[in-house]
Subunit: 402 residues, 4 copies
Amino acid sequence: MDFEHSERARMVMEQVERFVHERVVPNEQTYRDQLVNTEDWRRWKIPPVLEELKAEAQGLGLWNLFLPDEEYGAGLDNRDYAPIAEITGRSFLAPEVFNCSAPDTGNAEVLAQYGSEEQKKRWLEPLLAGEIRSGFAMTEPGVASSDATNMEATCEVVGDEVVINGLKWWTSGAGDPRCRVLIFMGITDPQAARHQRHSMVLVPIDSPGLKIVRMIPVFGHVGEPHGHGEILFEDVRVPLANIVAGPGRGFEIAQGRLGPGRIHHCMRAIGAAERALERLCERAVRRVAFGKPLANLGANRDIIANCRMAIDQARLLTLKAAWALDTHGTFGALTDISAIKVIAPNVLQTVVDAAIQIHGGEGMADAELSFLMGMARALRIADGPDEVHRGMVARLELKKYL
Amino acid sequence: MDFEHSERARMVMEQVERFVHERVVPNEQTYRDQLVNTEDWRRWKIPPVLEELKAEAQGLGLWNLFLPDEEYGAGLDNRDYAPIAEITGRSFLAPEVFNCSAPDTGNAEVLAQYGSEEQKKRWLEPLLAGEIRSGFAMTEPGVASSDATNMEATCEVVGDEVVINGLKWWTSGAGDPRCRVLIFMGITDPQAARHQRHSMVLVPIDSPGLKIVRMIPVFGHVGEPHGHGEILFEDVRVPLANIVAGPGRGFEIAQGRLGPGRIHHCMRAIGAAERALERLCERAVRRVAFGKPLANLGANRDIIANCRMAIDQARLLTLKAAWALDTHGTFGALTDISAIKVIAPNVLQTVVDAAIQIHGGEGMADAELSFLMGMARALRIADGPDEVHRGMVARLELKKYL
Amino acid sequence: MDFEHSERARMVMEQVERFVHERVVPNEQTYRDQLVNTEDWRRWKIPPVLEELKAEAQGLGLWNLFLPDEEYGAGLDNRDYAPIAEITGRSFLAPEVFNCSAPDTGNAEVLAQYGSEEQKKRWLEPLLAGEIRSGFAMTEPGVASSDATNMEATCEVVGDEVVINGLKWWTSGAGDPRCRVLIFMGITDPQAARHQRHSMVLVPIDSPGLKIVRMIPVFGHVGEPHGHGEILFEDVRVPLANIVAGPGRGFEIAQGRLGPGRIHHCMRAIGAAERALERLCERAVRRVAFGKPLANLGANRDIIANCRMAIDQARLLTLKAAWALDTHGTFGALTDISAIKVIAPNVLQTVVDAAIQIHGGEGMADAELSFLMGMARALRIADGPDEVHRGMVARLELKKYL
Amino acid sequence: MDFEHSERARMVMEQVERFVHERVVPNEQTYRDQLVNTEDWRRWKIPPVLEELKAEAQGLGLWNLFLPDEEYGAGLDNRDYAPIAEITGRSFLAPEVFNCSAPDTGNAEVLAQYGSEEQKKRWLEPLLAGEIRSGFAMTEPGVASSDATNMEATCEVVGDEVVINGLKWWTSGAGDPRCRVLIFMGITDPQAARHQRHSMVLVPIDSPGLKIVRMIPVFGHVGEPHGHGEILFEDVRVPLANIVAGPGRGFEIAQGRLGPGRIHHCMRAIGAAERALERLCERAVRRVAFGKPLANLGANRDIIANCRMAIDQARLLTLKAAWALDTHGTFGALTDISAIKVIAPNVLQTVVDAAIQIHGGEGMADAELSFLMGMARALRIADGPDEVHRGMVARLELKKYL
């Protein structure tokens, strides 16, 4: 195992770190102030400061760093992008500033790898230019999405069209006023072999028959200006050419986007945990009660040590997963990727909980800590709940003994 | 120890249980629908269904059950009120429906026990009639409120008036359009002995000089239509007669309201935990994944068993604390009250977290579970953070060896 | 729920407490010194101080307190015996001093309730006189004893004899030089209904064909002078009259001994946990490092508070289980009894672990703490592992929703 | 960070792995059978099989692998030795078989780095030849050894002699019949600067005035045939030339041996945890209860996943600590070394506890699991308790904010 980052990655890390520190974090409040607070997603607007920061970042070449494709993206492998993703986890604003935010990242990877020239031209290029955004419509209400074979939505091939029906939810970013296209996953051929039934289809968001039912609240927050959409597809028709890589390849494509996506999520979670620990420690040394800094009261030092040890371990395992993915591919990284998907969000939840606690009433009122609490909690469910990933780790472990 | 409830208490429990089940829970969604969702507290309105339910409950005599005073209240002791409080914890709406919600409960206790006849007439009676609501202005920003001697706000006696200055926050209920009066706690005599410096003063909320700065968000929610106010007092003047029980008795009065208040909070938390476990179990038996009900997957049965065992233990300790408070007074119940203040909110947080997790995406979107998550988290800070209460339990334990 | 102990129980508690404090604990070292340390159980001897203390306790009437039978025992119910069992948990020596140690307690209960007059005369009376000891041969190696239907040993009725075959282990007390009889449980009729296949048979330990294979080490200790026997039965023949209550009633009898036995174990575990916490606190206030008593270092106060809270909760739940058993019988106490069987040993393990840790090197070398560590660990397995009991709690909880 | 092992290390790893698998593990029982079980250390003998295995390992060049010194040892750095240490952790017998067992390892490092030619000739060479063994006399009873400035024993320079007085304990290996020399640490000059007061002195174990008081039991086991000695030094006189590196350099030398020693301990702990997890999984797939393999019952898969994730993270952090120590020296590795000293033993304890639990009664009786339980528990205290190391991690973390 070699976790050494390339010289180029180290250089980029430094630049990203400086930019986050000097430009992104100081503008978080501006962003919040510019945000239109309403639950009605039709009225959502993008705070201008975001587009300004994006332009700056793009100007510095800190752009599309997530994309390993050398033609379209930065050409960094997972090991090299991982520490950069960690840094962007330090600010809720940072991922998008660098055009590295989900689900565009996964969608762009899919298009770069599997898209036709026409698909790339029409969707990938504006995505990578930061001009439009996109959604990924896979999860369905009413069925346990931890078991992907439960999927019920369909995308039938009828002549030279694809006819799409079904109800999807947790389509993140669907409320963003810049969202133009969804990658929809559904069944094309229910009779096919189990992993060849599904296809991915590009669906313009303004397609007739596509109805955004609502933005789903996440712990009471609708997450403006992006949102998580519940979307009804009723006889939505798109050209056959909108199928990605051809009918029946949905599972294969989905498989490929999982690994990098989870590593990105986990590294951002680790960056977020570092930020929370920073907040915790600052409070511990500055706040005084009963005549002493909080750092010298109760179990606070043990809490800090436990946070530090948990974060450091989670980071190393995520780096190992990235290295394994780069070196051995998805199947050589299965245990590690499932493991970090459990560990990183739980570490984040623990650290944020401690950070809130040491801030007392201020912790409850703090926008950043509240955001991180929701993020941590959601990450334990999104993209496969803890249970499924623990089950995978156990299955692979027990296999050695069967 | 005898935790047996009186026959009267058992009868009331049954009635309250039925009313919560048949009238309160089915109207939760109506309440949510009638609620004006805005962060601007000046526009908050009380959903009519709440007042309707209050009238019904009052008609049935299920009213002011918390108040041990036999003249003004139901005359139940802590042990007898505890199980009733638990039942009201099963619905976010229930405490107020029975006119048993904080901070009115504590304020009413203070007035019933220490108030002058005039104070009772003017404030206690409408409170107990459910016509007005009240706030308690004690906590201050910028100082560690876990250390009460840090308080800085003042209520100086000048002639036959009290002049009030200072900044308070976490004055819960201050945004409620029916809130008419605050009990303010501040320093009257900085030279007096440490526990005789403070007084409690009744301050009408429309007093000149009293300014509601904002409603503080709790994990991003302002908590309409009640809210948690940050309130500035600038030379607010009220008649000397508004001091409760005379100058210098603030600490003594505060002391007395702590025990029952914590028992109420904890029993409601336990009721809330029961509700969350119910949600968890219902989901476990009804939802199927990988061909099995969730109850038969992974560690879910262990999780359910752990929740049941934690709740049952927390309830027993809270009943013991109530019994000890009734039998031996505050000082005979110190360890138990601090212990439950740590345990009950943590049990609630654990159970709710598990309930959310088993619901997956639906858990993140669920209004009740989201509310309970915030409630649990806030309770670990409000009214003394875990740390202070653990410290108290340890101090009393170690005392035996000194 | 009424946990109030009877006046008689309170009086006995006081006497037992005084005797443990003044006579038992001060003689623990004498006992250890008199003990013959050898792994060869054939050479084991009972330290004379034990018999002296037994005589004293018997003289004071502090004898057979566990036995609810009014004729043969003290006539205390579970609720009243529970706090006495707790006190005996404070010294490894105490249970036997008061003639209240397992497995004699369970065996005596069985004989008092189900034994024939002859069986009582021959075995129960000397047991209750403290003259002989006994064993209980139920668990079998090679099969999961958490699933009792796995049992393979047989006790066939042949004419007026019972012919016994099979291998048993964990027959505690089988190495005691005073052990005279075993209660053996095995299959009499494999064709009978599932819970009527088994019988209990009294087997004198010197029966031809009965061979003690070895004393099983428990974490490396054979537990002289009692031991846990692995015992081979090869065509052991005893008279038909040695069957307890008649053939086929084994399960019914086993069922009945479980509840009280678990309550005894748990209360002793709680007493042991109190002893460990005492050791922890004494060390915390007396030992100085870095210029401060350990109580003022690190997270030690949190640890102490957590121990106190865990013990108090475990005690209350055990008292509730005792009360439920007395009031509603075994089936009304199932959840509580399974719950405490999980909780009490785990609490003990946690508290002992903390007590060892705060003692550092001395903790590793300390005979009492080492004994308690092994006791805690063993209790999580003996008499049904945690897993089985958690499973039972979950099953009963989920039943409400089916 | 580059955790890639050198080609040579990988080759040695393979050989060691094979030798442990084929020669060491299969001889564990022989070793146990040959062992003289007695608490009287004067009668201890070394089982012949051990010396046979040592000769074999030495013959294969699998010898002194721990020693980075290229002249005397294998010349592997910490990163390269770490995985080898892990493999030796899989058998209690393995470290000594490869002449890589504590405290000889630390003592040899000290002599190789600081010893005079004469010291090397007399003590280092026979140690590295596996002919003699040694002890390290540093810890003292009665003072908190987590605070090294508490040390009270003295080694005064008087003329050309050193006069040694004091009581030491936890001198591991002091009961080994082959133990010939102790490295004693004590105060030479109480007036010197705080870290220049102490010296290390080589003391032949048969020196007049040196008295082995007893072998200290560790959780009831004296650990034959090595033991942990309590040793009284009364006017023990050795030549001045026996001081290592000169008077006053005790702390400096002690400092240097800490890092590698802790990495060795932690890697062995990780190897032991792997062994325990192996036992757990084997049991999980082979044992059946209620008609299913244990792997499919209760929370066992979660437990297995948690163990796997904990071990993998602990290993990575230990490798990072080794890499940091090699690359940046002790002071660049402080956080990581303290962190792993907390984590690795706790992970081991957790995994072993789970392995015991799944084995039920057999787990209590199992020699290997019992040994590992004691090892895990002791490691949380030995060489600095968890508390001190957590404190160090927190101190270094908070320093960033001061």
